[in-house]
């Protein structure tokens, strides 16, 4: 097997005395859409935060193209091609939609490429195009989520990590966001998708991992997990 794009090996993360992740291992191959499922407090966000170096690893390694990236400054991981769309949207409320998007391309110097990516984002989320000059804080929750995703895309990442993009959205919007993610996946973008909405995530993912209190309890192809009795009981509706 070739080197995975991203590999977590025996990763442990602690917050003070609390162990949030206990020796977890996980791989993402180039071009894959991998879902990371789990209940509240399972350690899903912590996994993404560890990858983008917002929290340090207590032990274990985080490998990117095979090389360890532990201890890098968070902004350097962006440079490597890792784009982390954080939990709870976190748009820059006091700046306009277009400024948010342009800040997403902060590290890029190819003006023409940035322009065309802006248009691509507007194509993906037409609601943003209509509101480009509006302050991000005045967008609806769903629009803010779209903006956050679009902003992460503006870095033109190799790996896009999304933390619960469906959280707090009406079913129709969840479908809209998932469709957009699916379209990006079809275009070849590699994604690590954190979700509590296992139904929605498994519908578009290639593979999935299930975190339970900081450990990986199950993993496998999305198709297999969709029919797994334990998953059905814990996360999927009847």
């Amino acid at each position: 097997m070739n080197t995975p794009l991203l590999a977590l090996e025996q990763l442990t993360v602690r917050y003070g005395g609390i162990t949030a992740l206990r020796t977890i291992s996980l791989q993402v191959q180039s071009g894959e859409l991998v879902a990371l499922l789990g209940a509240n407090g399972a350690g899903k966000s912590t996994t993404l935060r560890a990858i983008s170096q917002l929290v340090p690893a207590a032990s274990g390694s985080i490998r990117w193209h095979g090389g360890t990236i532990n201890g890098l400054a968070p902004e350097r991981t962006v440079k490597l091609g890792i784009s982390h769309c954080p939990e709870g949207r976190r748009v820059l409320a006091r700046q306009s939609v277009v400024d948010n998007l342009e800040l997403g391309a902060w590290l890029r110097r190819d003006q023409a490429g940035v322009r065309s990516d802006l248009e691509r984002c507007y194509g993906l989320f037409p609601r943003l195009a209509e509101r480009r000059e509006q302050l991000a804080g005045s967008l609806s929750g769903g629009e803010q989520q779209m903006l956050a995703i679009a902003r992460s895309l503006m870095a033109r990442p190799t790996l896009l990590m999304l933390d619960e993009p469906s959280l707090g959205l009406a079913p129709k919007l969840v479908a809209e966001v998932m469709e957009a993610l699916q379209a990006l996946h079809r275009d070849g973008l590699t994604m690590l998708l954190v979700e509590q909405n296992a139904n929605a995530a498994l519908a578009i993912a290639d593979r999935a991992y299930v975190l339970v209190s900081g450990s990986i309890e199950q993993q496998g192809s999305a198709a297999a997990l969709r029919h797994d009795e334990r998953i059905k009981a814990a996360y999927l509706g009847p």
């Binding site: 917002l54 902004e75 769309c85 006091r94 700046q95 800040l103």
Partner: protein
């Protein structure tokens, strides 16, 4: 317009512009870190002494540097920006020793109030140790080619004051344009609003914080040099009064608001200028009384947002 009124307006505006520069320096740091840099007044003071030395001034008899004079002297127009840059360098050192260690350890940002106050006290004492406590005047001959007063709207006004107003206005405009319109200004605002998200966009927060400190030090240094020229350097402590006034202006305009800092500065400056000369001892009462009343009515300041609770 009558002579008196012109003079009064100009007095008010020029001192107000200095307060605005001051408040803007606080604002830059406050907006990215959420704390007041209490060493800011000392940086202002240093800017004035740097200017004095750079134009060829020599140190008096009372400090360790008694009689010291730089081997060269330069015109005021060179000395002022250089002094601003030297002050910026000092501000960067303050960031390095009084702010960054706390941030690296994840300490409560409010602790930086104490460490920066400490840094300010050390600087002021260092100045006293080196050059003594006497006052120094930056001779207006530093502006050799300019007349000491010119006629404006039928009144004789001091050139120095006009300069002060002009330089401050230019700096304020440039800075506002930079913050609102430039790529790096927007990145600075992103760090101010949400440092973690800014990092996830690849914006180097630590770097932007340094830029904010450097700029605020530059503004303070320039303001110090201009005030030194306008009213002389009254001793190592002379920045403190301005520093407190700058804080008042900051609160009056609205914490973290750039236009607020400018508006607040001009208002306080004008309010002070309206105090008749024979009551000049009560100037501060007027300034702070005004502040008090505004805050009763608008606790968030004139142009401030209602403060979000820090999470």
């Amino acid at each position: 317009m009558t002579t008196d009124l012109t003079q009064l307006l100009l007095n008010g505006l020029s001192i107000g512009a200095v307060y605005a520069l001051f408040a803007l320096g606080y604002t830059l740091v406050f907006s990215v870190l959420g704390v007041i840099n209490f060493a800011h007044g000392a940086v202002f003071t240093l800017g004035a002494y740097f200017t004095f030395l750079l134009i060829g001034g020599s140190v008096g008899a009372n400090g360790l540097l008694a009689g010291f004079q730089l081997p060269f002297a330069m015109p005021f127009w060179w000395a002022l920006p250089l002094a601003g840059m030297a002050a910026a360098a000092v501000a960067l050192v303050i960031e390095r020793i009084a702010f960054r260690p706390l941030r690296d350890r994840g300490a409560d940002p409010l602790l930086a109030l104490i460490t920066s106050l400490g840094a300010g006290v050390v600087l002021v004492n260092l100045i006293q140790l080196l050059v003594g406590a006497e006052s120094y005047a930056i001779p207006t001959t530093a502006l050799a080619d300019l007349p000491p007063a010119i006629k404006l709207l039928g009144a004789q006004v001091r050139t120095v004051q006009l300069l002060l107003l002009l330089v401050a206005a230019v700096l304020l405009v440039i800075l506002s344009l930079w913050i609102d319109g430039s790529r790096s200004g927007k990145a600075l605002r992103a760090v101010a609003e949400d440092p973690t998200t800014a990092q996830l966009l690849g914006i180097p927060s630590a770097r932007m914080i340094q830029i904010a400190f450097g700029l605020s030090g530059f503004l303070a240094g320039i303001a110090g040099g201009l005030v030194g020229l306008s009213v002389s350097i009254a001793g190592p402590y002379f920045g403190i009064g301005y520093g407190l006034k700058g804080l008042g202006v900051l609160v009056l305009g609205g914490l973290g608001s750039v236009p607020g800092a400018v508006l607040g500065g001009l208002i306080i400056g004008l309010a002070e200028a309206c105090v008749p000369a024979e009551l000049s001892g009560y100037r501060d009462v007027v300034a702070y009384g005004f502040l008090f009343v505004v805050l009763l009515v608008r606790p968030q300041g004139l142009l401030g947002r209602v403060m979000p609770t820090k999470v």
